[in-house]
Symmetry: C2
Subunit: 116 residues, 2 copies
Amino acid sequence: MAPLTPGRIRHTVVYILSHPEGSPEEEDFLAAAAALAAIPGVEAFEQLREVSPKNAYRHGISMEFADRAAYEGYNGHPDHVRFVQERWLAEVTDFLEIDYEARADSSRSAARSASV
Amino acid sequence: MAPLTPGRIRHTVVYILSHPEGSPEEEDFLAAAAALAAIPGVEAFEQLREVSPKNAYRHGISMEFADRAAYEGYNGHPDHVRFVQERWLAEVTDFLEIDYEARADSSRSAARSASV
């Protein structure tokens, strides 16, 4: 994937649904979540399966924002607020949000590692 | 970022170091971790800062593999095994591994969301 450049934010969440895997209810939730991609500022939107046997999460969402203002615009957007209130709080039993920014020294580290 | 295509795996880990932020010891650990990018099969390697106030993790690593065989080759590679034994177990105080694969229906969901 394209590396995260300075200033950008990659917002991710892993979660567990109350619905059985492969159920119509799961499908309906994922379709509603997919609509978050249309909110202004959302880039590189992905719905993912979480497949590590080392944690209990089963679903993931990843998206990127150009800057913190775009991220805050998404957080406060009525479509996002409504999704959280009407779907997320009712159907998600556990979740963890993880947000990434580039390391300021990442290009230097990469250059160093290339010579190892 | 380029979407994760079917069959590929995005392996991520968030973690906390025992070293103070900005210390030479932290810098040295990150430089050693950067060398993991040179292990065969590792693609799209990134060292990241974890910036969400909603969890305690402060560092992240993300990498991708073309398939499960490449992932297993990395896991068993002597350079990775040595890094885990000599650095990770000694200097990382908490971590969580999260692995992603594409949803089989992700393109369908995306197409659906585009029409919402």
